[in-house]
């Protein structure tokens, strides 16, 4: 294994001859290394599964690859592990181009959905496997196994066989096994999706804690669960059809999704279509004309007046008000936008409920004026979802209610011609 140049900028730490098994100065592990995809494409025959994928996971960072099924998340992860050969492009770990390097020479920790523990080995032997493969001396193996099991709270289970463990325990062992070799990067492919909801929440917290204990560890975390991504990831990469659809910090992506797909995929935002009818003086806010409806929102893309545009608004940013007396008055003094809707569906979820509302005038679609642009959402048929704590009185289907939102919470997005 060649010496790997330090990429963290914390001074040159010469890599020991066998980076992976020598006791490293920090008890946690080796210096984190970046994962870098450079224009990686993967094709199977005529099918392009990953197309010109470029992404850098910085040392010590957790990046979640989030996307619908079949979007190429696993393929991207397997390209790092070495089980998928890119048709074109290169993959780096640290400064090292690993594109043509065998999986067993990449010093990677990998955790998969179904754990893949070795069934004929005890928990301790499973964890020791990677160290044995590196011919680590016995004392080191014993020490590392104990350390790694302690890290995931499984010390007491060292002698157990995998089949005698619960799913959550098996996944902990799988993580310990991956960490025992002190990998430069950790790849997790939907590690929690085989667990039930309660254990999954607990494991998300544990992985978070684990990363606080090993802050240098670079983690690429594949998931289609946005809760996991939002909780764990420093940055989220949203994938769609083998392409990177969006990449930003979890908060930024949630607050200001850059496009319709990210807005809808992450947090199921309401997206309505219209035309920019007015701008604030500095252009940071825009008003959209959606039929007879006017909706304001932040304009981070700086769309000009007259442009076709979308507006994205999260269901929980719409606050409910009791049906009120007089029309025409603005519902809130602080510039909140007021919209009216007719309840068409109520989805009660215990702690919250989601109302689906048909927008537009109370009397239904017939009185709405003809829309100026054919592409705009017709407010007569446009729907909007609103999530709020359940009302004391059950909602009546067909009742008209007024909703408010802070225009800062809405994002005006460029119109996408090709978008479905």
């Amino acid at each position: 294994m060649p010496a790997v140049p330090d990429t963290t900028g914390e001074g040159a730490v010469a890599a020991p001859p066998s980076l992976s098994v020598s006791p490293s100065p920090s008890p946690q592990g080796p210096e984190g290394q970046r994962i870098h995809f450079e224009d990686v494409s993967v094709r199977y025959g005529a099918v392009t599964v990953l197309s010109d994928f470029t992404l850098t996971v910085e040392p010590g960072e957790i990046v979640a690859l989030l996307g619908p099924s079949g979007s190429g998340k696993t393929t991207a992860l397997r390209a790092v592990a070495g089980f998928v050969a890119p048709t074109s492009g290169r993959v780096f770990i640290g400064q090292r181009d690993v594109t043509g390097i065998a999986p067993n020479a990449r010093n990677i920790g990998m955790v998969v959905q179904n754990y893949a523990l070795f069934p004929h080995m005890s928990v301790a032997e499973n964890v020791a496997f990677g160290l044995r493969a590196r011919r680590a001396e016995r004392g080191l193996v014993a020490r590392r196994v104990a350390e790694s099991l302690a890290l995931v709270g499984m010390e007491a289970f060292a002698g157990r066989m995998p089949r005698a463990l619960s799913g959550g325990q098996q996944q902990r062992v799988a993580i310990a096994r991956a960490l025992a070799i002190r990998p430069s990067v950790l790849l997790l492919d939907e590690p929690l999706s085989a667990l039930d909801a309660q254990i999954r929440r607990q494991m998300v917290e544990e992985i978070g804690r684990l990363h606080r204990e090993i802050p240098d560890l670079t983690i690429l975390y594949v998931t289609h669960d946005q809760h996991e991504a939002l909780t764990l990831a420093d940055r989220i990469a949203i994938m769609r059809d083998g392409k990177l659809a969006a990449l930003d910090t979890a908060r930024a992506l949630y607050r200001r999704p850059p496009n319709r797909f990210s807005a809808e995929f992450l947090g199921r935002a309401n997206v309505l279509e219209g035309r920019v009818s007015a701008l604030s003086d500095d252009g940071t806010m825009a008003e959209l004309e959606i039929g007879a409806l006017r909706m304001r929102g932040a304009n981070p893309h700086g769309l000009p007046a007259g442009a076709r545009a979308l507006i994205g608004l999260r269901p929980h940013h719409l606050t409910q008000a009791l049906p009120h007396a007089g029309p025409g008055t603005s519902g809130a003094a602080d510039g909140a936008v007021r919209i009216e809707g007719r309840i068409t569906h109520v989805d009660w979820q215990g702690a919250s409920e989601t109302l689906t509302l048909a927008l537009g005038p109370t009397s239904g679609g017939t009185t709405s004026g003809g829309t100026a642009s054919g592409a705009a959402s017709d407010p007569a048929t446009a729907e909007i979802r609103c999530t709020a704590p359940p009302a004391a009185e059950p909602h009546r289907i067909g009742a008209t209610i007024t909703l408010h939102y802070d225009p800062q919470d809405a994002t005006v997005l460029p119109h996408e011609a090709t978008d479905g």
Partner: protein
Amino acid sequence: MADATTRPLPHPHRTLRHTLRAALPGSAWVVLPLALSALVFLYPLALVLHEALTGGGAGLDTGPALRVLGAHIFRTALTNTLRIALASTLGCLVIGFALAVVLSYVPFPGRSLALRLIETFIALPTFLVTLAFTFLYGSAGIVNETLMQATGAALPPLDFLYSSWGVILAEVTVYTPFVLRPLMAAFSTLDRAQIEVAASLGARAPMIVRRILLPAALPALMAGGSLCLLLTVNEFGIVLFIGAKGVITLPLLVYSKAIQEFDYPTACVVASANLVLSVGLYALYRAMVGRMGGGHADLV
């Protein structure tokens, strides 16, 4: 049916069964077929055993049997049989395992064709392979002819075919598919992620084979191996067809005593010994399959 008020219509089969059951006591349905098969299979077997234990005379006389069992030729045949069976089984296991690993995990063009071809070996009569071997490696076979022409030797340089090595080679060729099949089945149920995780942990191919594939294949190896042992202990066609002069096995000894020398008492003793060996191995085989667990027993 759950409704008590609707009376079920008399079912034709049910009625027939009832009629038959009425005509015969229930136990007859078990006893009759058993008795029939006893007559067809067990009676001749009993005759053989009887012949072996009485030495052709009246009354129990183990003297002749013990004499046969003590004879040099029997000892030789027994050791030959065991030696050839064990060596062949070992060969089948080693080659079968290697082939199964390659066919399951190493992608190469024509892989499915190779699989199909090996499968058909199971269907081939055993002597056919032997015949093919004679054409290839026999004293007048292609290989020897070529070698003799090339070197100008007067005698065929390759004569392993007419020794136990020839028999072993033929048996390995014939019976390897019997090991290969359960092995392939075992590998097809092995989670590929295990192999990938092992590789990413730094394991090279030999370690993956030793620590992941071998343990996963162990039940199939045991079951396939004991089946192989059972079949090779009783192998007759291959040994006869090769016609190796010095290679006398138990089945061959039975054949030569009974058919060539009309020495039925001796043949029966040898056959009985062979039978005991087979039944013992069969018990072993069942135990192995049983240990694979109910879900896997059908793989063999």
